[in-house]
Symmetry: C2
Subunit: 298 residues, 2 copies
DNA sequence: TCGCTGTCATGCGTCTACGGCATGGCAGGC
DNA sequence: GCCTGCCATGCCGTAGACGCATGACAGCGA
């Protein structure tokens, strides 16, 4: 019961004629005649009565016709859905990203993606790199934007890493700070300063991942949000490490200092997809939007 | 998108392995591999990710799998329905019959048919021969039991006639009638008797169809039901023509007389089906039950 | 680190089977 | 009675599908 045979069968049934169906299908009459004969042999029942002018469905033929229509309709639906998936007029895209990336980079890419492909259902989950990677390999996300220190490479065995950018860490100090006029500073110059952390766990990750080993900052204050963190800095309560992605423009009452190249506090930012998996069209397209959003940040 | 390819695709998806699918499908690994490759070329999308151990569905593969399952299930349903139709475990049978046949012949056949094939939906319509034939050619009945006089053959161009029996007409007379002791009578001997008709239209048909031209019976009384008709005869109100099929046994207070062979009042009874149409299995089977019921009447 | 194993892909030969061409049979209509 | 239109079928060529064999690749264990 091949679908091709069912298509021929339906055409013959609609036109009540083997010859007419053959013309429509661009076949010869003999080919269609044999297709029908083969189908009748396969089903073991006569499907058409042969009339002097054309053919007419039998009881069994009517029975089969309903199923044939359903099958062919479903096949058409399958083709339609697959092309929709390829043309991004349907489907979904599940993105994961670490908090700093959600500040600007990922929303921009998502916005551009949605504008180009409004029918793709978008979802975004914010999380930390390890959890995001778990989601990815578990199949709960299609692509995740993660970060890692250069000397702590991500598990490349299970991932395909698409490098987006290297994110520098800045030091936020009050305008009144003794180093506020500097372009770059060394970490050791901040050894006596109090550090304001974001959240305990996130900052843990941030500090561990980016700062050279051996540097143990003094942490007095924990501020959950960037705004509060920068507010504390502006109030002169301490200094803070700020990922470059998190602050698009320096507030007027504090200064953002680069770290000296030797301290090289840098996070590498990647878009990660499952290793050796074919990328759905939505993911491929989103990666290009991520690249464009990255370029737009410079 | 042939259904065979979809079957292979589903098996591979279920087993997450081309090799395993090939084993279960009794193919070689290469054949299944190429089937999948051809399907991917046809859909224009990768359906599986090739893993070191087996394969895994892609986004597009999952999309197709749902449709493939639906298509294959529907094909199985089609096969099931067709075999049910052949095995008479489903379907319907629409019978038409003229009134006398509904008295005994057709109900017996229907009863036997239902006992043998309880899942076939039965319907029975009682009517006169012309109307029944209209139903048949219009496709509103599958088989009709009709009657005709020997010299008025039915329209054989549009019908296939399956001869069941020749039904003799009997003359019912009271026990006290002057001819009650006879085995056979001539019609002219009844020229002076009053005839009791069944219903005006049906009796018209009955008389016209069966009695020799030129014989014009005197009709005084019309009795709609056979019981009333025979009651009138028993009461001495007249005589009546009675189809042999209508009276299985003679009531004690009246006599049933055969007509002389020369008067040959006979109706030929047929099961009629559309000409040159293949008979659905239910109809074929019902014809044999009609034959058996006919034999059981003798 | 080096085979070993299990997986999928692919080149090659064969064979089936499907479609086209031609013809035949059959019924209806002028 | 011939002609026409329809479906069935024998014959034949070719394309496609299958099996066999081999290659490529990754993971695992000695």
């Amino acid at each position: 019961m091949e679908s091709h045979a069912l298509h021929v069968f339906r055409t013959v049934a609609e036109l009540s004629s083997i010859t007419a169906a053959a013309r429509t299908l661009r076949y010869t009459q003999s080919a269609v005649s044999r297709q029908i004969a083969a189908l009748e042999a396969e089903t073991g029942a006569p499907l058409f009565d042969r009339l002097p002018r054309g053919v007419a469905l039998t009881e069994e033929g009517r029975c089969l016709l309903g199923h044939a229509e359903a099958v062919l309709d479903r096949l058409a639906a399958a083709r339609r859905d697959l092309t929709a998936l390829r043309d991004l007029t349907a489907g979904r895209l599940r993105v994961g990203a670490f908090p700093t990336a959600v500040a600007a980079l990922v929303p921009r890419a998502l916005s551009a993606f949605r504008a180009a492909h409004p029918h793709v259902a978008l979802s975004l989950v914010e999380g930390l790199t390890p959890g995001l990677l778990d989601r990815l390999v578990a199949g709960d996300a299609d692509v995740v934007v993660v970060s890692a220190a250069p000397d702590q490479p991500l598990d490349g065995d299970r991932l395909d890493l698409h490098h987006l950018l290297d994110e520098a860490l800045l030091v936020a100090v009050p305008r009144t700070h003794r180093l506020a006029h500097r372009r770059t500073v060394r970490l050791r110059e901040l050894a006596d300063d109090a550090f304001i952390a974001g959240s305990a766990i996130a900052e843990e990750t941030l500090l561990r991942a980016t700062l050279p080993a051996g540097f143990r900052p003094r942490i007095d204050i924990v501020a959950a949000e960037w705004t509060g963190k920068l507010g504390c800095v502006a109030a002169g309560l301490g200094v803070a490490l700020v990922p470059a992605l998190a602050v698009r423009a320096a507030p007027p009452d504090l200064a953002l200092l680069r770290l000296h190249p030797d301290d090289a506090a840098v996070r590498r930012v990647y878009a990660a997809t499952p290793r050796n998996r074919s990328l759905p069209p939505a993911v491929q397209r989103f990666l290009t939007h991520l690249d464009e959003a990255t370029a737009g940040l410079g």
